[in-house]
Amino acid sequence: MTGEMQTVYLCEDEKELAEAIIKELVGRYRVFWSETGAEAVEAARAGRAAILVMDRKLKGADGLTIVETLRAEGNRTPVLMISAMGAVDDRVAGLRAGGDDYLVKPFAMVEFSARVDALARRLSEASAPVLRAGPLELDLVARTVRRESREIELLPREFKLLEYFMRRPGLVVTRKMLLEDVWNYRFHTQTNVVDVHIRNLRLKLDAPGEKKLIVNLRGEGFLLDVAA
């Protein structure tokens, strides 16, 4: 890890979950935990918080309202909303209020970690027309992909999938993230359909003898490994 650790403010009123989250993040982030969210809002206003992790339902406060208030003040601190499953449109409401990502409890810690890491990188979703990661080059305008000099032909769905990975090099990408962000699906499939898509993409990316670029992390998800 390089230099100063980033600060995560966690607003969560379930003690066991909060402890598990702290254990997960500690060592990579500085974590402050409060049950109400007041401190977190202060920290965000003062620019001391890199990321807010906000439970939607806090004791005596509403996570949604807190985020809305911050956004209304022009505060852009990334927010990961977490919530016990409730209404169908929770996620929509959470994102509409200004949350950057939304995770429904219960979640696997790897899932949570991956989301926090992604927010910490402050990914710029719409920037250069050409993305580069290691040997890969993806032209968003010409819709072409090359690995070093070799041109790779991808189906539109494979192109979208690769783009998602190339915006998150070296970061864990979970199946759930892919379902939600690449395909816009809010449902869980009990089949291994995502793995099949990855396998197909991988077959095209890696010529025989070449290094495997998309790595399977057992029980976690996938990762685009472009380190030399």
Binding site: E16, K23, A84, Y185
Partner: protein
């Protein structure tokens, strides 16, 4: 005959019956007055005439002449014609020029066109002729011109009056029965909405139908009570699910953390991983249950927007196609043009995805799954057919119930809940999800219902 059929046929029929009754009653009144004023009068006159003639025939000459002349001038029951003829037909006395052509039988005869004189207008007339013992013939007569005038006046009045009365009765009858029918349709539509699962709908109350409104108010109270009970039931279920969920979430987090911290190759890793998997299964079930009740409970149509069912099927085909290929199942898509409907695209994707997911799960290698999005006669229809094991007919309905799972699919986890969610989503969109035998395999059809209001037309 359903309430709907009845209400459709009634307005015209009721109006017709109403108008007919009014017309008959009016006609009846006219007939009665007509009878009393004309026919009865004529009958009475006939009787009087015959009696008069009899009396006259029996009296002696002098008295007869005096009585007859008196009759001509003063008697209130005026006789228009009085005459006495001798046996050869010569007039002896009276105001007739010649003997009228009627039998001399003492009975009153009706002559439709009698001319008292050659140049006179013919008039309907009553005449009686009777022979006296000496062979003379006495003739009495009365013009019915005024009675006839009355009669034609009646007929005219009836002819002029009956049309407006009939038209008015028809219009009035139609208006009232239309109003009632419209009311019944309104109630019927509201009931249809409730039957389709919107327990929040109530029957409309309008003033002007007191008896009906009393019944409707009672039905609405009953619906309030049902909704309250259903709400309580759902709330209990949700609370249990929520309460179960919170500790499970924490247990999962603890196990997850333990796994992270456990050294590689530790003996505990395997059982912890198994426990996590089982926990995930339990939580998938709880989540699906909560999801069904959330979709049901909120009836949220706020997120409704334009969506293209054909496009959604296309996207899902694209999504599942690699999986089907990997499983050795042939997945095909048949779709025509766009099928634009209002709905929640996220939920609709979920519903159709669950159907495809389910079909792929139950179709063995070498089988096929077909997706089709069509709109026939304006009714959207999404079909997912497979040639897998199928759904036994006896379970075809139960399959959408929470917790239900086809008998022969018991070894595959979570098959029932996805369908239950799909069914709930279908109902939210005014569609229905049915399963049929595809011989072999199952055919799931997500189809738009014919709107209640249109079915009637």
């Amino acid at each position: 005959m359903s309430l709907r059929d009845l209400s459709r046929s009634t307005p015209l029929r009721l109006a017709g019956v109403f108008a007919l009754t009014i017309v008959l009653l009016t006609g009846g009144v006219f007939a009665f007055v007509y009878e009393v004023t004309t026919e009865a009068r004529v009958a009475q006159l006939k009787k009087v005439f015959s009696d008069e003639a009899e009396t006259a025939a029996a009296s002696d000459d002098a008295r007869l002449r005096r009585a007859l002349s008196l009759r001509l001038t003063r008697d209130f029951r005026r006789l228009d014609y009085v005459a006495l003829f001798d046996s050869s037909g010569r007039i002896l006395f009276g105001n007739l020029e010649r003997k009228p052509d009627i039998p001399v039988d003492g009975r009153t005869h009706y002559l439709p066109g009698f001319r008292p004189a050659d140049e006179a207008e013919p008039e309907p007339t009553l005449m009686v002729a009777r022979a006296r013992p000496n062979g003379d013939v006495i003739v009495l007569g009365r013009s019915l011109a005024n009675v006839e005038m009355l009669r034609s006046l009646f007929n005219q009045t009836l002819a002029y009056a009956i049309l407006p009365v009939a038209a008015g009765a028809l219009a009035l009858g139609f208006f009232f029965s239309r109003r009632t029918a419209a009311r019944i349709h309104e109630i019927d539509d509201a009931i249809a909405e409730i039957v389709n699962g919107d327990l929040r709908a109530r029957l409309p109350i309008r003033s002007g139908f007191e008896e009906l409104d009393g019944v409707i108010a009672s039905v609405n109270e009953m619906l309030d009570e049902i909704e309250r009970l259903m709400g309580q039931l759902a709330a209990v279920g949700d609370n249990i699910a929520h309460d179960l969920r919170a500790p499970l979430v924490n247990v999962r987090a603890i196990l997850d953390q333990a796994l992270v911290e456990a050294p590689k190759g530790a003996a505990l890793r395997q059982p912890v991983q198994t426990a996590l998997r089982q926990l995930d299964r339990a939580m998938t079930t709880i989540d699906a249950l909560l999801r069904v009740s959330a979709i049901e409970g909120e009836r949220r149509r706020s997120a409704f927007a334009e969506m293209d069912l054909a496009e959604i099927c296309g996207e899902l085909f694209d999504f599942f196609e690699p999986l089907a290929k990997a499983k050795g199942v042939e997945l095909t898509l048949a779709k025509g043009g766009a099928i634009i409907r209002r709905g929640d695209p996220d939920l609709m994707r979920e519903a159709i995805a669950n159907l495809i997911d389910n079909a792929l799960k139950f179709t063995p290698r070498g089988g096929s799954v077909k997706i089709a999005a069509t709109a026939e006669e304006g009714l959207a229809r999404v079909e997912v057919c497979d040639n897998g094991r199928g759904v036994p007919a006896a379970e075809a309905h139960d399959i959408f119930r929470r917790f239900a799972r086809a008998e022969n699919g018991a070894d595959l986890p979570g098959a029932g809940l996805g369908l239950s969610i799909a069914e709930t989503i279908a109902r939210l969109h005014g569609m229905e999800l049915v399963v049929a035998d595809n011989a072999p395999g199952a055919r799931f059809t997500l189809a738009e219902r014919v709107p209640a209001a249109e079915e009637r037309r």
